[in-house]
């Protein structure tokens, strides 16, 4: 399909598709204001900027890769225990009630956040066209962060967790995370302040939002839930507000900043519309924070609180719709590149998942659907579609792009990248389909008072097995990724002088060299 589109658009006789025409117009206009760029000078500056981010970013990434593996193993344990409860039930620290929160916290605070921070740091320096500030302090922050996560995970496994979902780390851990994060925020803010680029690109908006939203969310929830706990049902509202918005106002902006940078970067093409970017960013900032209480439908909270949350969730269709259109029309006509570029393949997978998970999320917040699906495996599938399929895949894409620039070593093996992609993408697909379908059946059965509860438990077993299977596939992908990561860090394998592509590099070169007719030729 993409081939026909390419043919069509490269032939001057046939009119370009609608999106194509639009981009043609845009480039006319964009081209007139831009100065010519000296590629050599630009490369030298990129090198200097990248050099300043090298050590801190790689430190954050290394911690992330370690916790990705640790979190995968914990996830597998938790998943297997759901259908085979007697599996490894000998020790208290291996019980489901500890393994599952340990999985969640290592993934969020061990893998997702530090990797996201690494990407933020690199992007900030790149976008500011300035060297990263406080690199040594940042390395210390990375160490403190990872020690805190290790300490917290051990604490959870020892049974010292707070038992509040998403913030299970025992009370001695959060101050360390806050300390480490303030260094990150300081560095991002000062690097931005010293920027050598007048225009502030859309990725930078999201990054700036994220570095202020995350400390706000995290300190508020820790204060109100752990250090000065409130009484009663307000706890539930605060807990869900955090659990929902740590994805929405911390991970999502990082993911979107990455996508907004890397799609145009890999394609060498402008983002479709600055105006859509504006609408997307500000509507996200406006609406996301209201959501969260829709998890409490039917709960002991005032009806208006829940209703406001549902409306805000539906309003999220505005940022999601604009971002989806913006990304799609940036990609349009170039989908064939997904066959070759590992970065773009992961990034576009993440971007599409963002649209999917957000649209799904908006509609499942509606009362009628929520009452069936909320307390079932369906919600788990949804959460993984967000944190895994969108955020984690986007981060993989970013790592495939950033790492060779920092380590000065190409990825060792295209085959391992393929294992990584198909393991994670295939695993995620099985995971989502199995648990979504199972969750709907489970919810329908639970709402039927005539069905005995034990029958529902038994009915779920095949779906839980599908989850474990998916977990094995994803973990395989992660092991392949960890192997690639290690080889890249240690410069193992054959020295390559060309990018590691997933398919014939000559085809790729031809593809890159023949942009659609309506597209300007890349300047460099």
């Amino acid at each position: 399909m993409s081939d026909t589109r390419r043919e069509k658009s490269s032939s001057p006789a046939s009119p370009a598709p609608r999106g194509g025409k639009a981009i043609g117009r845009a480039s006319d206009r964009g081209g007139s204001v831009e100065r010519p760029i000296d590629p050599e000078r630009a490369a030298r500056r990129r090198f200097r900027v990248d050099e300043s981010t090298r050590v801190p970013v790689l430190t954050f990434f290394t911690g992330g890769a370690f916790w990705l593996l640790a979190g995968s193993i914990l996830a597998l344990l938790a998943s297997i225990k759901l259908h085979t409860p007697e599996f490894l039930d000998g020790a208290s620290w291996l019980t489901f009630g500890r393994v599952r929160p340990a999985h969640l916290n290592t993934m969020i605070y061990g893998w997702a956040s530090p990797t996201g921070i690494g990407v933020i740091l690199w992007l900030t320096a790149r976008l500011a066209k300035a060297e990263l500030r406080f690199p040594r302090l940042l390395v210390a922050a990375a160490v403190v962060w990872n020690v805190a996560v290790l300490w917290g995970t051990i604490g959870i496994l020892r049974g010292e967790g707070t038992s509040i979902e998403w913030i299970e780390f025992p009370p001695y851990v959060p101050p360390l995370l806050v300390l480490a994060f303030s260094i990150v925020a300081l560095s991002v803010a000062t690097t931005f302040h010293d920027r050598g680029e007048a225009h502030v690109y859309v990725s930078q908006w999201y990054i700036f939002g994220a570095i202020f939203w995350f400390p706000w969310l995290y300190t508020v929830v820790e204060l109100l839930m752990v250090y000065r706990p409130m009484a009663g049902s307000p706890q539930a509202s605060v807990n869900w507000w955090f659990a929902h918005n740590v994805l929405g106002l911390w991970l999502t902006p990082i993911g979107l900043a990455t996508i907004y940078y890397l799609i145009p970067k890999v394609l060498g093409r402008p983002v479709h519309s600055y105006y859509l970017s504006i609408v997307g960013f500000w509507s996200l900032a406006l609406f996301y924070n209201w959501a969260g209480a829709h998890h409490l439908i039917g709960g002991p909270v005032p009806a208006w609180l829940v209703t406001v949350s549902i409306v805000a969730s539906m309003m999220m269709l505005i940022p999601v719709g604009t971002v989806a259109i913006n990304h799609h029309f940036t990609m349009v006509g170039r989908f064939a590149i997904l066959k070759y570029s590992p970065t773009l393949r992961f990034i576009v997978f993440g971007a599409m998942s963002y649209t999917a998970v957000s649209v799904q999320g908006s509609f499942q917040s509606l009362r009628d659907w929520n009452e069936v699906t909320h307390f079932t495996h369906y919600t788990i599938a949804h959460a993984h579609l967000g944190v895994y399929s969108f955020f984690t895949m986007t981060m993989f894409g970013a790592l495939y792009y950033i790492m060779p620039r920092l380590t000065r070593w190409e990825w060792a093996s295209a085959r391992l990248i393929r294992v990584h992609f198909w393991g994670t993408a295939g695993g995620m697909a099985i995971y989502w389909i199995g648990l979504t379908w199972g969750g709907v059946l489970q919810g329908a059965a639970m709402n039927d008072p005539k069905v005995p509860f034990l029958d529902i438990v038994k009915m779920m077993i095949p779906y839980l097995w599908s989850r474990s299977l998916a977990g094995v596939l994803m973990t395989t992908g992660h092991v392949a990724f960890a192997a690639l990561f290690t080889m890249n860090m240690l410069h193992l394998g054959k020295r390559r002088y060309e990018p590691t592509l997933l398919d014939d590099p000559r085809e790729y070169a031809r593809l890159i060299a023949s942009p659609p007719a309506w597209e300007e030729t890349p300047a460099s």
Binding site: S27, G30, R41, R45, A130, R136, V271, W304, V308, S524
Partner: protein, 293 residues
Amino acid sequence: MSEPRPARTSEHDDQTEAHERYDVQGLHAPILRERRDPRDGYEPIPPWLAAVFGALIFWGGFYLQKYSGDFRSDIYDEYKPSMLYGSTKPAAPVDPVALGKKLFTGQGCVSCHQATGKGTPGQYPPLAGSEWVQGSPARIARILLNGLQGNIKVEGESFNGNMPAFGAKLKDDQIAAVLTYIRQEWGNKADAIDAATIAAAREAEKLRSNPWTAEELTAITKEDAKPAAEAPKGDDKTKASGDAKAKAKGDSKEGSGGDSKAKASGDAKAKTAESAAPKSAEAKKAGGEPEKK
């Protein structure tokens, strides 16, 4: 890496002196082969998209109106649209005796006056059978509001101690509930006291900060006049929760409930009970849910 450097590096790109060791050919390939940095296109927002978003916002307003329960903190059931409110049953009202019992224990009354209400002989006066407790509401209200100090004679026995003040700690309806409880427990048989009585006493003595003495209290012979606007519609409707209480309730209806009912039917038919409620948060609290008669 962390040394200070010119703030606007892009203007000084050609300052290669410091970076001469990085010959362009020596730069690693990924950086050289990179394509240009992302930039913005300027396509307009499609009109149909604006229309879709407009419709979405319109829907949001409709949904908010329909399921917000009038943005009230005491409406939990979103399926109860506000226009139907007049015809639905209110939540069960708070039973002042139960609330009073809880406060009696929770606020520490019990540690001196004891769960039996008999007090501690020679130290803390009894409440069971006490003429003070079952006597004038104005006096007993003042004791709770400002405390009591010095000699007092209860059931023929003299006590000399300190009763702490609860005026700052408890709200009117809470004090009323404690008083109602001790006036009807342990064989005591006196009227319930409503929040308006406490509010009136509080208003009358708002300048006072020191505890009362028995003499001062004895000098008070008049009950406080309840402010008309504050008259609650609620607290006498404890759903019959015990024979003795039911009887007391009947009495109190004569006392306080009667006039408030007359007033309620005077200015508006109870159909709009909830519109009357915001007038006085105190009154609403005192009665739990505003009731329709």
